[in-house]
């Protein structure tokens, strides 16, 4: 029973993290059709901004939302600087991979210059530990498990129930038709990036609360997010979310039985297999679209 509980809890926790990491990437891909290779860096940036605000004395309850807003603003700027000007180019996806990679490197080294290489830590969402059955877990982990579905649910509501969310979904599916209906495509692109950045920031805050932050902490989450998005299907947002939890459980089980050692290789094998057998991803339908 202990094994099951540990795997279940581990899976929920990892799954929640992966979902937070992946959904922003999926949002940008399905809306604008580009892969943002600075997504991991945004997680790191969000964590650092939050850390700085907390350092200056702000209570986390105020610091965290502010960091989210600030990161969203940077996301908007990124889009305006290195994505929007390239729309309409042939090889858009490729070029954007390069420019977002470069922008990510820029931000990463900027953070390194400003804050230095020494590890930092964020206060957890909730302090303290508890026992669930026979396993010791931190309240921070429980908070993440609880909060993530709430945030994702809010995102879902936004996309499916609001007019703005509808506009975002429309732009994802047909840009020309969106223009002919009077949508402000430029602003919507910015919004997509801003929301993605905000979500990345949250992921960073979650991570910063239980492990050490460093300027390069975004690299591994980016890879994980990519795996989740590819596995879950890059044609919608819901696919990656399910995939995130699936992979979370898979990873928890792998770590338990085979150790942390082999897990990256196994994950990669999963990625390759998925792409060979079903390149659209496990949970997707043809074509691109949100929700």
């Amino acid at each position: 029973m202990g094994a099951l509980a540990e795997i279940l809890f581990g899976g929920l926790f990892q799954g929640s993290l992966y979902a937070m990491m992946a959904v922003g990437l999926a949002l940008v891909w399905t809306t604008i059709g580009v892969f943002n290779f600075s997504h991991g860096v945004f997680m790191m940036l969000g964590a650092y901004l939050a850390w700085q605000l907390v350092e200056t004395g702000l209570h986390p309850a105020a610091a965290f939302p502010l960091a989210v807003l600030a990161t969203a603003a940077v996301g908007w700027l990124l889009q305006a600087a290195v994505v929007r000007p390239l729309i309409g180019r042939a090889n858009l996806v490729l070029v954007v991979v390069i420019t977002t990679l470069a922008a990510g490197s820029l931000i990463e080294n900027g953070v390194l210059t400003i804050w230095g290489p020494r590890s930092k830590q964020l206060p957890p969402l909730v302090d303290g530990n508890t026992m669930i059955g026979s396993i010791g877990v931190s309240l921070h982990q429980i908070a993440i498990i609880v909060v993530t579905p709430l945030i994702l649910g809010a995102l879902w509501m936004f996309l499916t129930r609001t007019r703005l969310g509808l506009a975002l979904r429309a732009v994802a599916q047909n840009e020309d038709a969106s223009q002919l209906v009077g949508l402000n495509v430029t602003a919507l692109y910015g919004l997509a990036f801003a929301i993605a950045a905000a979500l990345a920031c949250l992921a960073g805050i979650f991570m910063g609360g239980y492990r050490f932050m460093s300027p390069v902490m975004g690299a591994d989450p980016l890879l994980k997010a990519l795996i989740v998005v590819v596995f879950g299907g890059i044609s919608s947002i819901s696919g990656p979310i399910f995939a995130a939890y699936l992979i979370g459980f898979f990873e928890a089980a792998c770590s338990y039985y085979f150790g942390l050692y082999w897990t990256p290789a196994l994950l990669f094998a999963v990625l390759i297999l998925t792409l060979m057998v079903r390149p659209e991803g496990i949970f997707s339908s043809r074509g691109r679209g949100l929700a």
């Binding site: 996806v93 991979v97 390069i98 490197s105 210059t113 290789a265």
Partner: protein, 335 residues
């Protein structure tokens, strides 16, 4: 009038091979004379590094620029060359020159392995899989630390030898010569390939996949050839790097190196081979000038990449071509 038409109807950008060969030999001669101009060890080191980067970047141009396949794991092939050489010489005791060649083969095999899953995939999936591949290779090397030294790397790797020449106290001229020879060999290989029928079919696949396939070009075979071809000298360059530095570390798998080399490919202008080479020289010297800038160096490089991509996507070669055309009035097409 017919003569005028005949003169103007030329495959765009296609200089006749004789002209190219002359230019190549001239360039080679200039580079060969460099160590006599720059007699100090440090300058020669810069040149050697530039040659290594040039090989890696120009081979990346083959798969990326000509093949249209963004192999995000190209630098991993370089890294595989590094570690293959290190392990072959240190653990297996293989002769350094044999190890050099073998490393190229190992890298080629790795490229073939990577190509298999991406044989029929489209754009973004290729980027993702090759990215994942690069990460995986790095993970494997880190995890097998008893053999590979993990994050500490491998030290005291045997260097290359030239008959009885003392490679250590010669002011680096021995390694310089080898590096230049490798660059020459790689470039000849690439240019011959690009100018051949195979090269043309690779480009045809890039430009219009469906049409090329309908005309009998095999997507699978060409992709395999493209990636394998781009891997050999990249692996050799990695082996040479390990032999030259006498150590191996996993830094070669890092994002920063990949970004630098990618910027060389882009800055030079994709689809030219020579562009990447020229850009490698420019950027290596540029980077050296900025060596003391600390974290500012990658930041400036990053800004450079962004600016080039935004403003001048066809890179240096594109700029040069446009300037040349402007001077000679050659590129004017009839309205």
């Amino acid at each position: 009038m017919m003569d005028q038409i005949k003169r103007n109807i030329r495959a765009p950008g296609r200089t006749p091979w004789q002209r190219e060969a002359v230019g190549f030999v001239l360039g080679l001669a200039v580079l060969a004379l460099m160590p006599f101009v720059f007699a100090d060890s440090y300058s020669r080191h810069i040149l050697i590094m530039a040659f290594i980067y040039a090989i890696v970047a120009s081979n990346w141009d083959l798969s990326l620029g000509y093949g249209g396949v963004f192999n995000f794991g190209h630098l991993a092939l370089f890294g595989i060359g590094v570690y293959a050489y290190a392990l072959l010489t240190k653990l297996a005791g293989l002769d350094p020159w044999l190890a050099l060649a073998a490393s190229g083969v190992v890298a080629t095999l790795a490229a073939v392995l990577v190509t298999i899953p991406i044989l029929r995939l489209k754009g973004i999936y290729i980027i993702l899989v090759t990215f994942g591949f690069a990460q995986l290779v790095m993970q494997v090397i880190i995890s097998q630390s008893e053999i590979t030294g993990g994050t500490q790397g491998i030290v005291r790797i045997p260097g290359l030898y030239l008959f009885d020449h003392n490679m250590v106290r010669d002011g680096k001229i021995g390694y310089f010569g080898i590096a230049l020879a490798l660059l020459a060999a790689s470039t000849i290989f690439l240019r011959v390939l690009v100018r051949s029928r195979t090269g043309a079919s690779i480009v045809a696949l890039r430009d219009n996949e469906e049409y090329a396939i309908s005309r009998g070009v095999s997507l699978v075979r060409q992709r395999l050839i493209t990636l394998a071809a781009s891997a050999f000298f990249t692996g050799v360059a990695g082996a040479f790097y390990a032999a030259y530095q006498r150590n191996a570390s996993i830094d070669v798998f890092g994002m920063s190196l990949a970004t630098i080399v990618l910027s060389m490919v882009l800055l030079g202008g994709t689809g030219t081979i020579y562009g990447a080479i020229i850009a490698s020289f420019v950027l290596t010297i540029f980077a050296e000038a900025m060596a003391d800038f600390g974290a500012w160096r990658p930041m400036i490089t990053a800004v450079l990449i962004i600016v080039v991509m935004l403003v001048y996507p066809s890179g240096l070669v594109g700029m040069l071509r446009a300037a040349w055309a402007g001077l000679t009035g050659r590129l004017k097409r009839p309205a």
